[in-house]
């Protein structure tokens, strides 16, 4: 029908996100359930407080990582669907003209949740590879006897089956709302354009006009670029403190999740901006705008979002860790107060600036390679 399996394979980003979410959630939930089972055997007062701290951490980490990533996955999924509908508007218009109902077309979008299923399934499997090590580390101080890894089918249901069904539903409902456009607009590829006209006096130059229009036509991407900077900044800074607060293992895990998420979302966003502006860029090049002009017009608008995302991520990780330290270690004496680590912040910022601006320059190269004949291929 409309959406084929091949299309869903392009949604690697969704799979990666759900993969990360399920790895983290399954590790902690499995541990949480097994930990609950031995509650009565822990009697030593110090062990009890450690025990409670770990139960608490599991809850906090699960809801934060799970919630955050689930939300990001939804936005990413919606973004893909919108992108798909926009770039296939002619085909969809023809189907509608032939008499296919919106509902019938939207049903095929549920196939997109296949990528959620794959990500969840792989994540679920992968978490069991890490599980043994994770259990050992959680009990590194030998506060209680070693916990046997239990297998909980209800977690499979919760972390693999339920998300798949939910996302299939989301995909249907969202695409239904997006398909509700006059057939002729889909066929002609008419884009809805609303714009408040500024006073004709404060005219900027063309490149800035182009920049603001690109930004307006791709608002979701502003979110994703900010999100990827946010992931980068928060997870890297957080991981730098995990060795003191939890374990090196946790640090590594958070670091790798942060980097993977940051890079996938960033790559997806920037590629999709370029993809959807391919023709416009080619046209600008035909007119004699340089590759750096094109980059300014198409990509530079996102810089502010990226740096805001970075700042928010830094604050977020600070307050999150502060709260975690307060909750988790509330019964333990002599826990030093958690302060904002400027050294780590500046190092992360420097790496971020290098990476961000460097990647943008790489993309400028990519713009240079866009074939000028691109526009002639209809």
């Amino acid at each position: 029908m409309v959406v084929s399996i091949k299309d869903t394979s392009k949604m690697l980003g969704v799979s990666i996100m759900t993969f990360c979410a399920v790895v983290v959630c399954n590790l902690f939930l499995n541990f949480y359930i097994d930990l609950k089972a031995i509650k009565d055997t822990v009697t030593d007062p110090f062990a009890v407080s450690m025990y409670e701290a770990q139960v608490m951490t599991s809850k906090v980490v699960c809801s934060l990582a799970g919630g955050c990533l689930a939300l990001a996955t939804i936005v990413l999924l919606f973004f893909y669907i919108k992108h798909y509908i926009d770039s296939h508007s002619k085909e969809i218009g023809i189907l509608k003209a032939l008499g296919y109902s919106d509902l019938k077309i939207s049903k095929s979008f549920s196939l997109f949740s296949l990528s959620v299923f794959i990500g969840c399934l792989l994540g679920f499997g992968f978490s069991f590879i890490l599980m043994r090590k994770f259990y050992e580390l959680q009990n590194a101080g030998h506060y209680w006897e070693d916990i046997k890894i239990g297998y909980h089918p209800e977690l499979f249901l919760l972390l693999v089956i339920v998300p798949t069904i939910l996302y299939a539903l989301f995909a249907c409902v969202y695409s239904l709302s997006k398909l509700n456009r006059p057939c002729i607009n889909l066929l002609k590829g008419i884009v809805k354009v609303k714009e408040k006209e500024r006073d004709s006096k404060d005219r900027k130059d063309f490149v800035s006009e182009m920049r603001s229009s690109v930004l307006k036509s791709k608002k979701t991407l502003v979110f994703f670029i900010a999100f990827s900077a946010y992931c980068f900044s928060s997870m890297i800074q957080m991981s730098a403190h995990m060795d003191e607060l939890a374990s090196d293992f946790m640090g590594m895990m958070i670091l790798s999740i942060g980097i993977v998420l940051a890079f996938t979302t960033f790559y997806i966003s920037v590629s999709s901006v370029l993809f959807s502006n391919n023709k416009n860029i080619a046209m600008m090049r035909v007119f004699g705008y340089s590759a750096s002009d094109c980059k300014r017009a198409v990509l530079d608008g996102y810089r502010v979002a990226a740096y805001i995302g970075f700042a928010v991520g830094s604050l977020y990780q600070y307050y999150l860790l502060k709260i975690m330290v307060e909750i988790v270690f509330k019964d333990i004496a002599d826990v030093p107060e958690y302060n904002f680590d400027f050294k780590v912040f500046f190092i992360t910022l420097a790496v971020f600036i290098l990476l961000y601006e460097g990647t943008m320059l790489l993309y400028q190269k990519k713009i240079k390679n866009i074939s000028l004949k691109e526009i002639m291929l209809e």
Binding site: M284, R285, V286, G288
Partner: protein, 230 residues
């Protein structure tokens, strides 16, 4: 002055190699109005893309006022396009998210043209300055594309079937605009078409067939856009 010498252009790689231009030579004077005429697939668009520096060549040379295009770096080519050429396509290629006025500014900014609205006026679209391309008819969109190209004050204007998607009435009107503006501003104009009637408006007609130039003739009976058949 555009000088084309022994130009050859291939498409595809070794096995599926296809000679799209075969040993083409021609020279075009400043201020000339040339029409390139030929059947579909004869290599007209390829020729236009090559002499405007959009496509690379495999042999021969294309030089513009003595500067050879194939020897230019990407940067020099960009500057060359910025300073000298404008292109009008059959499919308009307006920027869909920008209104008419801003589309014209795309050309105007490059030439430092401040009064870009006079170009909109020239193509009769001043009232539609705030409309978006999707809100215009095909002929109107093509006129925006023309205003955008002319606001760039090109030395050479390349047109690939500019009236191909238009009906007779709009087609004639658009052609008339272009020819009048050419006479007023006196740039070089090179237009591709497969329509023999349209060719009658030119100073010189270059006929192409299977990648070769088969005939170059002065057009003694130059007609305007309303005198030709359609």
């Amino acid at each position: 002055m555009i000088e084309v010498k022994d130009l050859t252009k291939y498409y595809g790689d070794k096995e599926g190699r296809f000679k799209a231009l075969d040993n083409v030579s021609v020279s075009i004077k400043d201020g000339d109005f040339i029409v390139i005429l030929g059947a579909s697939g004869s290599g007209k668009s390829t020729f236009l893309n090559v002499i405007s520096g959009l496509e690379t060549i495999d042999a021969g040379s294309v030089s513009f006022d003595g500067h050879e295009l194939s020897k230019m770096s990407e940067k020099e080519l960009t500057k060359f396009r910025k300073d000298n050429t404008a292109y009008i396509f059959q499919q308009y290629y307006l920027l869909p998210h920008l209104n008419v006025e801003k589309n014209v500014r795309m050309g105007a900014d490059l030439a430092g043209t401040k009064d870009f609205s006079s170009y909109l006026e020239a193509v009769g679209l001043k009232e539609k300055a705030k409309k978006f391309p999707s809100q215009l008819s095909g002929g109107e969109q093509q006129r925006v594309a023309i205003a955008r190209a002319l606001a760039k004050k090109p030395k050479v204007l390349f047109l690939d079937e500019p009236t191909g998607a238009l009906d007779e009435k709009t087609g004639r009107a658009v052609l008339d605009y272009i020819i009048k503006l050419k006479e007023k501003l006196n740039f070089t104009m090179i237009m591709v078409t497969h329509n023999e009637n349209i060719a009658q408006t030119a100073d010189r007609i270059i006929k192409m067939n299977s990648g070769k130039i088969v005939d170059v003739s002065e057009n003694a009976y130059k007609k305007d856009a309303y005198e030709i058949g359609w």
